[in-house]
Subunit: 277 residues, 4 copies
């Protein structure tokens, strides 16, 4: 083809790229919003499909819509591959894989039936929302939360490890106490499940102690859980308070002498060069 | 009518206004207390009406009382409209609408039957309590709480958005795991409901996993919820602590001698350089 | 009687007073410990009496022990009345009334049967433990906790008031949604009970929504409750942190010039008189 | 035997000691990892043994594996005893006892049958993990958490004592209210169990109030529990925040010029008076 058409195509490609990948143009914003709606709609369909009565009445409609969405997503995927400057990089990127996983299940189902587990993969389409929401200012807050959690991740890890051991031990003890009175404690794993349900104060009641000893023991476990619940809260809160204080102290000025940042508001002299501020 | 009577009426009107809308007069206070009692009584009646046995025995009494209250509220409403200097403004105001909504249902029911949903509207009468409680000093505390929540509202919004996505994904996964073992997980929406019930540690137990994999997975979800519960607490607490500190730092003055911050209000001399303040 | 014997009696009385009311003597400590054991034993009996099988087998024993304890407590009460310098004051005091309430039920039951509700009164004997525990150093911690709760009592009051209104409104709405589908929501009060059970994340499951709308709505309520749970925690924690900081800053020194207390560790000059420290 | 062989043996012993007890050598690390795997495997077997279907199908396999593990642990125990410089001390040490308890049950069961309770003892093998995890850096975090809990242990003790009294009283009251309406409240101990289940917001629902008064009362209890849950959280969080601040203040030095506290470690000049540090 001539250089002319080539230029033209590359121009079109650039424009498409900006529209699809970035959202700093009106077109881009419109595209994002449409995409958002389609995603939510397709997820809604996946949900409704799982409701028996709806499934029976509208199965054909659902089927039809499912294909519409699949084709739309496929086109979008191909467009993204085509217009991105580095196709390989996009395809192997996190979002690239997600985008692919959003369309494959339908084809797989079409070709070889496949069953339930494909639904979950389709739900992954929700993940795509995150890409769109990158534009939302909320993300800053989100990052802050993530940071607080990250900062205290090791503490939390230790905490979980401790909880795991605890539930295993408590569950086994309850198994020994209760198993012979045909209450729900039919095996150690089930008893551990019960211990988690109890320690986290969820308390379904599908399994509950029936023997006096069992009830007394689980009362102790509950009060323990009551105190334990304080720990992760304490960790995260302390972390957040610290971050808040840090942010609050961050009234940095610059020293006229050495141009270093001075980050405490009550300094009279630069702590690096001694210049009077 | 003569100017005389007119003056007289406007005077009466002013007085009524003070009595009904403000509570800085003994009469006003009395009025507020009466209103409070009537509201609580009428709400109590609405509740009792919903109890079958009581309803059967005292239906006529309830009916009669309901009308008494309705008429009282109607009179009050008309009085308010009449004595306020700006009737339009009152009618279109938040409380004006509430006041109207408190009387309409009875009339509607009288005219065209109408059913359950009218009860809820009547419960709205509770809202009116807020107007009365504006006089209670507690309101200051209330405002502080509101402030703390408001300050962290964006963080909380992000948090809820995250919870929503999480529950949808977790619910779908559980649906795939459990649905084929006729436990309660009959559809994705129901499974999402279950995920919320579990993550929030409410745990009704009306729906509970029965498969080992399902139980293991929900154990993980619970421990997650256990950590997640820490986040909103952390947010609000950090906010409150910050507000406390801010209030504490607000007392700070600057020393004319050394330009240091002095943060106690009863200082006569700068604690750093001894300059008389 | 002669002055001699009178002196003697008053001496005995004083000694008894010290032993029974104070615990600064070995005798006093022994007395307290015996009393503690008797109280716990009597409470244990009251509990065991309520267990059907035990009640059937040991009723006579329980009866007999109950009388032993009653007589012991009666003697103690009379002794307290006799040996205290101000009998009236003791009898009308909080603990005096408790002591009396601990013995009356048995007599009442003996005279006129009386039923269940007497048991609860007997449980009041537990209250007496507090008097004994006044000696335990833990009480300091207890006082601190109380203080933290007291300091934030108004905030908590507002919070409860808010929760009350909320549960009433939410309960009524759920009643309207669910009542017509014979789920547990049989009346507004019951629905309010359900709302409390849900908001506090207790979640018995004795009443649970069955309609899709009801489940969706209660999911929202749960997530709300999840955020609301953060508020009281935030209040108390902020208060405690503040108290901690206060205690931490309380490194008070005395100014040589004006002998005022200076409570910040980084002061170089007295803030009251300007003396160099 | 000759001094030569003796030397040789003691050398071997030293090496074994380093490998088994310490983990500062490659061999030691390998040993720890193998041990970890064996422990987890043996615990997994204990769990699976308790699952009926698996037990029926693989009982012989389980039996066989159980013996393999027992023998391995026995050998390890003997090695430890042999190679440690102070055998007595090891045997009487916490871990020494655990190690012994991990092997005994199997022998006991072999000799005299024995039943359920032996399983729990076997689960103790998990405890051994702690010894291995001493190498994990996480332990630092663990220690910090422990410290925070220890610091506030007396407050928490008071809190638990208070909760105990509260549950006893509340349970008894509910017993009086509910027992005569054949709901689950069959005895005071059971009612106390219910009170714990409710206060801790676990809420199994195996026992739930049925009378209006009972439901109203338990609604109050729940809201109370809701506030009470704030207390331990407050305690721990305040403690953690304090520790954080302490760590932050620990960096403080004093300026030779103005004797002010300087709390950042990278300061070269006093920020108050400009003196070179």
């Amino acid at each position: 083809m001539t250089n002319e058409t080539h230029k033209h195509r590359s121009a079109l490609r650039k424009q498409l790229y900006r529209t699809i990948f970035l959202s700093d143009t009106p077109a881009g914003r419109v595209f994002d919003i449409c995409l958002l709606i389609i995603i939510l709609a397709s997820v809604a369909i996946v949900m409704m499909e799982s409701v028996q009565p709806l499934q029976i009445r509208y199965s054909s409609l659902f089927n039809w819509l499912e294909w519409v969405f699949t084709i739309l997503f496929t086109l979008e995927y191909l467009l993204r591959v085509w217009c991105t400057p580095k196709p390989k990089r996009y395809i192997t990127s996190f979002y690239g894989i997600i985008d692919l996983l959003c369309v494959i299940p339908s084809y797989v189902e079409f070709l070889m039936g496949g069953g339930h587990f494909l639904i979950t993969i389709r739900i992954l389409r929700l993940m795509r929302i995150f890409r769109i929401f990158k534009l939302v200012p909320f993300l800053h807050e989100g990052r802050q939360l993530m940071l607080a959690l990250q900062r205290s991740r090791r503490k939390i890890a230790v905490f979980f490890f401790f909880i795991m051991l605890l539930t295993v031990v408590l569950g086994s003890i309850m198994y020994v106490i209760e198993s012979s009175h045909n209450s729900g404690f039919t095996s150690i794993p089930v008893s551990i499940y019960w211990a988690v349900v109890t320690l986290t104060t969820v308390g379904y009641g599908d399994i509950a102690p029936v023997t006096p000893i069992g009830q007394a023991f689980s009362a102790v476990i509950m009060i323990m859980g009551y105190a334990i619940i304080a720990v992760p809260t304490g960790i995260v809160t302390a972390e957040m308070t610290r971050m808040r204080r840090a942010a609050y102290d961050l009234k940095a000025r610059e020293c006229p002498g050495c141009h270093m940042k001075i980050d405490d508001h009550d300094a009279l002299f630069c702590k690096y060069c001694g210049t009077h501020l």
